[in-house]
C-alpha cells in the first residue's frame, strides 16, 4: 500500500562541503543515507529519518542539516499534523501506535511556574564552597520515635529498619537491560558506584557478572513479569522495588518484542531467545492492598529483612489514598512516577493521555501521609521528567526525599529524544541490542558524562540551598515556604500547597 504520509524530517546536504565519505551512511541504522554508485554522490531517503541528529553530529565536514520538514497540510487547529498522520498510519496498518520517551504534549510544567526563595540580611545565606553542605539522603522507613538507653552509655534502644544511603538525592530510574543496551546499563551502574548513588535494574534482571561489583548500588525490580529473579538477585542488591506502575504507561503492562530478546538478554531475563517477554498489566498475585502487603513481606523474608522494599506506582487520580495503603502494607519507599515519565515503548495514546503531573502528585502524597501521621514510615522517590537541578530542589521542597532521573541520564549519554526507542535501532547505542549500534557507546565516556551530570547538579543544589540559608537537604524536605507560584490558578496553588509570588 502506498503510504500517504510525508517525511517528518528534511535532510539538507551542503554538496560543497560533502566529500562523499559515506560516514552518514554508516551512522544511520534507519537507512536514510545511501551512496548512489552511478553518480558517486550521497542521496537521502527522507522518509526513513528519525531526526536523531547522529549523522549531523558525526559528519566530519558539517555538511548536514536535519530539520522538521517544511511540507505542511492546510493549517487546522483541530486536525493537527500529528493527529492527521497518526490516523493515516493506523489506516495503513490497523495497529496500535507505539512510541518511546516521555510525552511531548504541552501539559503545564509546574516547575516553570514555581520560584525559589533566597536569604537577604537575616538568616544569612551560606557559601557551599567554604562551609559544609549536606546532600546525603537516607532512603527507608524511619521510626515513629526514638528511645534512648541512658543508663551508663547512651545507646539507641529503638530498632531502625534498613535504610540505604545516597550521597545526593538523585537516583537513576528503572531502565532494564533489554530496553537499553548492555553498555548503557553498565554505564549507569558504574556511575552510581563512582558517585555513591543507586541505579535501578528495571524488570530485566541483573547480569550475573555485574552482581558482585554493582549489586550494592542496585535497586532490583520485581515487576509483573517476574523476569530474571532468583534469591541471589534479590540479596545482592541495595533495595528491592515492586513495580506496579509507570508514569509513561499507567495501568498497562509491557511487551519486550522477541527480536530484542538476544542470547544475553535471554540469559539475564531467564527466558528463551526470541520469545516475547510479556509483563502483564497487573501483578496477578496482587489484587488488593493485602495482597501487596503479602508480596512486600515475601520480599522482606527473601532478603532477611536487610533491605528496604520500594513500591513504584504511577501518579493517577486518587493515587494518594492508594499510596497510604502501600505505606500501611509495609513499603519502606514509595516511588511515584508522573505523567511526563519516559519509556522504552508504550502505546502513544496511553503515554499522552493517562496520569497526572509529578509536581501535583508529590505535594498531594506528602500532604496525605503527613495528615495521616505516617510520612516518616516511608521515603518518597519521585520520577517523571526532571530536567535540571532546579526541578529536583523544587520536588524536595514539595515533599520528595529524592528523585529518579531516567530521560536526563539518557540525554547525558547521547539521547536526543527522537522517540524511536521502540524500534531497537537507536543510533546512539542506548536503546538497542544490535551489537554494531550498542558498541558505539563507550562505557568509560558515558560513565564520565553521567558522573559529571550528578556532580554538576549536586553542586547547583548546594548553591541554591546555601542561598536559602539551609545547609542540609533534610531541612528543605516538604518546606513549601521556600516556594512561590507564578501564573497558577487558585486550585493549583492549593494542590501544590504553596503561596503565590509576593504573598
Amino acid at each position: 500500500m502506498k503510504s500517504f504520509l510525508f517525511p517528518e524530517f528534511q535532510v539538507i546536504r551542503d554538496q560543497e562541503r560533502c566529500n562523499q565519505c559515506r560516514g552518514c551512511e554508516r551512522q544511520c541504522s534507519f537507512g536514510t543515507h545511501i551512496f548512489d554508485e552511478k553518480t558517486g554522490e550521497m542521496v537521502s531517503e527522507e522518509a526513513k529519518c528519525a531526526g536523531c541528529q547522529r549523522c549531523v553530529i558525526f559528519c566530519p565536514n558539517d555538511a548536514l542539516v536535519i530539520k522538521p520538514t517544511l511540507s505542511s497540510y492546510r493549517p487546522n487547529a483541530n486536525w493537527s499534523r500529528e493527529k492527521l498522520e497518526d490516523l493515516k498510519r493506523q489506516a495503513e496498518t490497523g495497529g496500535v501506535i507505539l512510541t518511546g520517551c516521555g510525552t511531548d504534549k504541552p501539559f503545564r510544567i509546574y516547575w516553570d511556574h514555581i520560584v525559589l526563595n533566597a536569604s537577604q540580611v537575616t538568616n544569612p545565606s551560606i557559601d557551599p564552597l567554604r562551609e559544609p553542605m549536606e546532600l546525603r539522603t537516607f532512603l527507608g522507613s524511619k521510626p515513629d520515635f526514638l528511645k534512648v538507653k541512658t543508663d551508663g552509655d547512651v545507646e539507641l534502644d529503638t530498632q531502625i529498619g534498613p535504610n540505604v544511603v545516597i550521597e545526593s538525592p538523585i537516583l537513576f530510574s528503572a531502565m532494564s537491560y533489554g530496553a537499553i543496551s548492555y553498555n548503557a546499563f553498565k554505564s549507569l551502574a558504574t556511575a552510581s558506584k563512582q558517585f555513591g548513588t543507586l541505579f535501578n535494574t528495571g524488570e530485566g534482571g541483573l547480569p550475573r557478572e555485574l552482581r558482585a561489583e554493582f549489586g550494592g548500588n542496585a535497586i532490583v525490580q520485581v515487576a509483573s513479569g517476574r523476569y530474571g529473579i532468583d534469591a541471589e538477585y534479590l540479596n545482592c542488591a541495595a533495595a528491592v522495588e515492586i513495580k506496579v506502575g509507570q508514569g509513561a504507561k499507567p495501568g498497562i503492562g509491557g511487551h519486550l518484542p522477541g527480536e530484542k530478546v538476544s542470547q544475553s538478554v535471554a540469559e539475564t531475563r531467564m527466558i528463551p531467545v526470541g520469545t516475547d517477554a510479556i509483563s502483564p498489566a497487573p501483578h496477578h498475585d496482587i489484587y488488593s492492598i493485602e495482597d501487596l502487603s503479602m508480596l512486600i513481606h515475601a520480599l522482606k523474608e527473601a532478603t532477611n529483612y536487610e533491605k528496604p522494599v520500594s513500591v513504584k506506582i504511577a501518579a493517577v487520580h486518587n493515587f494518594a489514598a492508594i499510596a497510604s495503603g502501600i505505606v500501611r502494607a509495609g513499603a519502606d519507599i514509595i516511588a511515584i512516577d508522573g505523567l511526563r515519565g519516559g519509556t522504552g515503548a508504550a502505546p502513544k495514546v496511553i503515554r499522552d493521555n493517562v496520569g497526572i503531573p509529578i509536581e501535583l502528585a508529590i505535594s498531594a502524597l506528602d500532604r496525605r501521609l503527613k495528615n495521616e501521621g505516617i510520612r516518616n514510615r516511608c521515603s518518597i522517590v519521585s520520577a517523571g521528567g526532571f530536567r535540571s537541578s532546579s526541578d529536583i530542589i523544587k520536588a524536595i521542597a514539595l515533599g520528595a526525599d529524592a528523585v529518579y532521573i531516567g530521560t536526563a541520564a539518557l540525554i547525558a549519554m547521547g539521547c536526543t529524544l527522537c522517540q524511536k526507542c521502540n524500534t531497537g535501532k537507536c543510533n546512539w547505542g542506548l536503546c538497542t541490542q544490535d551489537p554494531r549500534l550498542s558498541g558505539r557507546l563507550n562505557t568509560e565516556i558515558a560513565t564520565h558524562r553521567l558522573t559529571n551530570l550528578l556532580n554538576a547538579w549536586s553542586h547547583e543544589i548546594m548553591e541554591m540551598l546555601g542561598g536559602m540559608g539551609i545547609n542540609a537537604i533534610e531541612s528543605l524536605r516538604g518546606n513549601r515556604d521556600h516556594l512561590r507560584g507564578i501564573g497558577l490558578y487558585e486550585w493549583e496553588l492549593e494542590v501544590l500547597g504553596i503561596k503565590g509570588a509576593g504573598e
Binding site: 495497529g95 496500535v96 529473579i229 528463551p272 516475547d276 510479556i278 496477578h284 503479602m294 513481606h297
Partner: protein, 252 residues
C-alpha cells in the same frame, strides 16, 4: 542428618522463619514443623548469601499460610495437609509436595523446581510460569484446577491428572500462553481453551515426559494406591501455544 523439630503452635510467621534460618545457618538439614497454622513464606528465608547451596528437607504438618516456598531456592518441602494461595510464587528451584489441595495462583512465575499437588487447585494455576535452558519448572496436579490455568504461560510443564474422573470445567485455559506445555488427562472442550492455544494428541516425546512425572507423582503419594500405568492408560490432550509471539501484530 540433624533434624530440628518445632511445634509451631502460636509462633508468628516472622519469628518462625527467623528460627528456621538460624537453625539452617547452624547446619540443620531437616526440619519437622508441627501444628503449622497459617504461617506464611515457609522456605523463603532459607537462602544464605555465602553460597551454601544445601538443600534442606522440610516436613510440615498442618496448614501453611500463603506464599509457601515463594522465591525458594532449592529445598524439599512436604506438607501433610492443604496449602493456601501463592505456593511456589516465583520459585527458583526445589520441590513442594502437598498431600491435599492448593489455593489460587499456584506456581505463579515459577521458573524452576517441581510442585506436586495431590488434589485440586484454585484459580490462575501456573500463571506466567517460565523456563530457561535446563531450568524447566514442573507442576503435577492430581485433581483439576479452576479457571485461567496457564494464563500468560511462558515455559515449563503442567500436568493435570483429573483423578477421581470429575470433569474439567475450568475456562480461559492458556489465555496469552506463549511457551511451555500443559497436559490434561480427560476431556476439555475447545471453548474452554484460549484461541492462542493448539490442542493436540501427545506424541512419543510427550509420552516420555508424562511417564517420568506421573511416575514421580505416584511415588510421592503411595497412599492413593494408584499405578503409573493405570493413570497413563487414560486419554491425555496436549495444549501448547501456537506462537512464541502472540502479540507481535498488534502494533502499527
Amino acid at each position: 542428618m540433624e533434624t530440628v523439630v518445632i511445634d509451631a503452635t502460636g509462633i508468628p510467621t516472622k519469628e518462625l522463619n527467623e528460627r528456621l534460618r538460624a537453625f539452617m545457618l547452624n547446619g540443620a538439614e531437616r526440619f519437622v514443623l508441627k501444628n503449622i497454622c497459617g504461617q506464611r513464606y515457609i522456605g523463603t528465608r532459607l537462602f544464605s548469601k555465602n553460597g551454601t547451596k544445601r538443600k534442606l528437607d522440610i516436613d510440615i504438618t498442618g496448614t501453611p499460610g500463603s506464599d509457601l516456598g515463594a522465591f525458594m531456592s532449592g529445598h524439599h518441602v512436604r506438607v501433610h495437609g492443604n496449602v493456601q494461595d501463592g505456593v511456589g510464587n516465583t520459585m527458583d528451584d526445589g520441590e513442594i509436595i502437598v498431600e491435599g489441595r492448593a489455593g489460587d495462583v499456584l506456581g505463579m512465575s515459577m521458573r524452576g523446581g517441581k510442585i506436586f499437588i495431590r488434589d485440586n487447585t484454585g484459580y490462575r494455576t501456573a500463571l506466567h510460569m517460565k523456563e530457561y535452558l535446563d531450568k524447566k519448572p514442573v507442576l503435577v496436579i492430581g485433581g483439576t484446577s479452576q479457571d485461567f490455568l496457564g494464563e500468560y504461560m511462558a515455559g515449563g510443564i503442567v500436568i493435570i491428572l483429573g483423578l477421581g474422573d470429575k470433569p474439567h470445567t475450568q475456562t480461559f485455559i492458556g489465555t496469552g500462553m506463549h511457551g511451555g506445555v500443559i497436559y490434561i488427562r480427560g476431556k476439555v472442550d475447545k471453548l474452554q481453551v484460549a484461541g492462542q492455544v493448539e490442542i493436540s494428541e501427545p506424541k512419543v516425546e510427550d509420552r516420555e515426559v508424562l511417564d517420568k512425572f506421573v511416575g514421580e507423582f505416584v511415588d510421592h503419594f503411595p497412599d492413593l494406591g494408584l499405578s503409573k500405568e493405570g493413570i497413563l492408560k487414560g486419554e491425555f490432550i496436549r495444549l501448547a501455544p501456537k506462537s512464541k509471539r502472540p502479540y507481535a501484530k498488534i502494533y502499527a
